[in-house]
C-alpha cells in the first residue's frame, strides 16, 4: 500500500532534510519525493509530496503515526495524509452461468469491501444456454487484502456454482 503525505515547507535552506529525517529515523520506505517549487503557496511555502510504502500491518501504521508526530514536533506543516492508493492488482476468471447468477452482485461484493475494486471486466458469452467466462481485473490495497478478496470470491463462486481460476503466486 502506498500512502502519500502532502507537506508545506518554509522556503529556507535545510527544510527538506529536516522533513525527511523522521522518515529515515523510523525506517519508512520512501518511494518518491516531489518538491513543487513551481507551486509556491501565497504564504510563501513550498508544497512537497512524499509517498511511502506501507504494509497493511498495524505495525506499519503505527510507524507512520510516529513519523507524523515527529514532523509536527519539528514544525513541518502537514496539509494532508493522502488516501491509500490501491496497489496490488490481479485477475481472476470465473466460468458458469455468471450473468444469470448476478455479475453485478459479484462486482458489488468486491467494491463494497473498501479495500478492493473491480477495475475491468471482460465477458465472453458464446451462446444463450452456454456457460459464460468472465475475467475480473481487480486492484486491492496490498497483498493481504488481495488474498482476502480472492477468498471472498471463492466463497461466492462456490455458492453460485461457478468455476474459478486464480492466479498462481509468483
Amino acid at each position: 500500500m502506498i500512502t502519500t503525505l502532502n507537506l508545506e515547507l518554509k522556503d529556507v535552506p535545510g527544510q527538506l532534510v529536516e522533513a525527511l529525517e523522521p522518515f529515515s529515523k523510523y525506517g519508512t520506505n520512501i518511494i518518491s519525493v516531489a518538491h513543487h517549487r513551481e507551486k509556491k503557496t501565497p504564504k510563501g511555502t513550498v508544497p512537497v509530496e512524499i509517498s511511502v510504502e506501507t504494509d497493511s500491518e498495524e505495525e506499519d501504521k503505527e510507524r507512520l503515526d510516529e513519523v507524523i508526530a515527529e514532523l509536527e514536533e519539528r514544525g513541518v506543516e502537514i496539509v494532508s495524509v493522502g488516501k491509500e492508493r490501491l496497489e496490488e492488482s490481479f485477475s481472476i476468471i470465473m466460468i458458469g452461468h455468471i450473468v444469470h447468477k448476478g455479475i453485478r452482485e459479484m462486482i458489488d461484493l468486491i467494491d463494497d469491501t473498501g479495500f478492493a475494486e473491480v477495475i475491468d471486466l471482460d465477458l465472453s458469452m458464446p451462446g444463450i444456454n452456454e456457460r459464460s467466462s468472465a475475467r475480473f481485473f481487480i486492484k486491492a490495497a496490498g497483498k493481504k487484502y488481495a488474498s482476502k478478496t480472492v477468498e471472498l470470491m471463492e466463497e461466492a463462486a462456490e455458492e453460485k456454482d461457478l468455476k474459478i481460476i486464480k492466479e498462481m503466486n509468483i
Binding site: 485477475s91 466460468i95 465472453s124 475475467r135 498462481m168
Partner: protein, 341 residues
C-alpha cells in the same frame, strides 16, 4: 555385485523394466559392475519363480503372445509357476512393485510392499496408492527393518523430483514444491488454448491418441495430481499427508473462452499441484505465459523452492512406459550402490 530382483506387476511398466534390464545388462555389468537377475515375475494370472534368473526375453515374449506370464513353457525344472500373484518366501534382494494404482485399499501393492520391507527387502515402486494411503506404515516398516524404499517413478515419470530434492539438494530447506504433474490435463489445456477447441472435443482427440483413458476421471478431476502432491509432501517435506488432505479441483468445466481471456492477459491456464506451508492444493491456475512452469503438450514440470539454492525447475515427460522405467532403473541402481558400499 549381483542382486536378485522380483517384479510384481507385469503390465506396460513391469514389462518395460524387464526390457530395460535385458537391453542394458551389458552396460550395467561392465560400467557399473551390477548384475541383476530377475527371479520372480507376477501378473494378475499368477507368478513365475526361478532362483537362478528368469529368461527375460522368453517371459516378455510369452506375456506378449499369450497375455500372461504363467503360460511360459517350463523348459527346466527350476522354473515354477504359481496361481498366486503374491511374492512367495524366496531369496531375493529388491522388489520392483508396479502393480496398478488402487486408491481404495492400495492392494495388491500395499501387501506386496509391506511384506517385502518387513523381511528387510528393498522396494522400488511406481505405485502411488500405497504411498498415499498409508505412508507412515511403509516408512516405518522400511526404517525398522533397515530396508530402502524408493519411488521416484510414482511422481512425474522420468522427471526427477523426489531424488532431486532429497539427494541433489540435500542440506537445503525445501520451502515449496509446485508444478504440473499430469500430462493428460496439460495436453488438454494446451490444445484447447492453441486451437480454441472445446473440452469435449480435445478430450476425445486425446482418447484417440491414447493420451487420455476411456474413463478420464482419475486424470481430469485432479485425483492423479493430488496423489502426487501428497507423495511429495510426505517424501520431501516430512509430512504425513493423505489424498484427503489435498484441496483438489480438476479441469472439467474450463471453457475455450476462459483460456482466450487468459491469453489476452498474456497468461495460460495450467493444472498446478503445490505444497507450501503445510497446504496441499491442486487447482487450475493462471500462469504467466513466459513463466518456467508454463510448459505445453504432455510435458510435466516441477519447481522446488529452497533456502540456499533458490528455485530449481525441471521439466520432462511425465508418463509413458520408458520414462517410468527410467526412474525405476535409477532407483534400483542407487539402492544397489548403497548396498555395495
Amino acid at each position: 555385485m549381483s542382486a536378485k530382483v522380483a517384479i510384481a506387476g507385469f503390465g506396460t511398466v513391469g514389462q518395460e523394466v524387464a526390457r530395460v534390464l535385458l537391453n542394458k545388462s551389458k552396460n550395467l555389468k561392465n560400467i557399473l559392475g551390477l548384475d541383476f537377475s530377475v527371479v520372480f515375475v507376477s501378473d494378475s494370472s499368477g507368478s513365475v519363480v526361478k532362483n537362478d534368473g528368469i529368461n527375460l526375453k522368453r517371459i516378455l515374449k510369452c506375456k506378449k503372445e499369450k497375455g500372461s506370464v504363467t503360460e511360459v513353457e517350463k523348459q527346466t525344472s527350476k522354473l515354477k509357476t504359481y496361481e498366486d500373484s503374491s511374492v512367495p518366501s524366496i531369496d531375493y534382494d529388491v522388489l520392483i512393485e508396479c502393480t496398478p494404482t488402487n486408491i481404495k485399499d492400495g492392494e495388491p501393492g500395499m501387501s506386496n510392499m509391506l511384506n517385502a520391507l518387513k523381511q528387510g527387502k528393498d522396494v522400488v515402486t511406481s505405485n502411488k496408492g500405497p504411498l498415499v494411503l498409508d505412508w507412515m506404515s511403509l516408512k516405518n516398516a522400511a526404517k525398522s527393518n533397515n530396508a530402502k524404499l524408493k519411488f521416484e517413478a510414482a511422481v512425474g515419470g522420468a522427471m526427477p523430483v523426489i531424488n532431486l530434492a532429497n539427494d541433489a539438494l540435500i542440506g537445503n530447506e525445501i520451502k515449496s514444491v509446485r508444478g504440473i504433474f499430469n500430462g493428460t490435463c496439460n495436453y488438454i489445456l494446451s490444445r484447447m488454448t492453441a486451437e480454441s477447441l472445446s473440452y469435449g472435443q480435445v478430450l476425445s482427440e486425446a482418447q484417440d491418441l491414447g493420451i487420455a483413458e476411456t474413463d478420464p476421471t482419475y486424470d481430469v478431476e485432479g485425483i492423479d495430481t493430488a496423489l502426487k502432491v501428497a507423495i511429495i509432501a510426505n517424501a520431501v517435506m516430512g509430512m504425513d499427508a493423505s489424498y484427503d488432505d489435498v484441496k483438489t479441483e480438476g479441469i472439467v468445466g474450463i471453457t475455450p473462452e476462459a483460456l482466450k481471456l487468459a491469453k489476452e492477459d498474456n497468461k495460460v491456464v495450467k493444472l498446478i499441484g503445490e505444497v507450501e506451508n503445510g497446504n496441499l492444493e491442486v487447482a487450475p491456475k493462471l500462469v504467466p505465459a513466459e513463466h518456467p512452469l508454463a510448459v505445453g503438450g504432455t510435458l510435466n514440470v516441477a519447481s522446488i523452492k529452497t533456502d540456499l539454492a533458490g528455485e530449481i525447475t525441471v521439466t520432462g515427460r511425465g508418463a509413458g512406459a520408458k520414462e517410468t522405467a527410467s526412474s525405476i532403473l535409477s532407483d534400483l541402481i542407487s539402492i544397489s550402490k548403497m548396498r555395495k558400499n
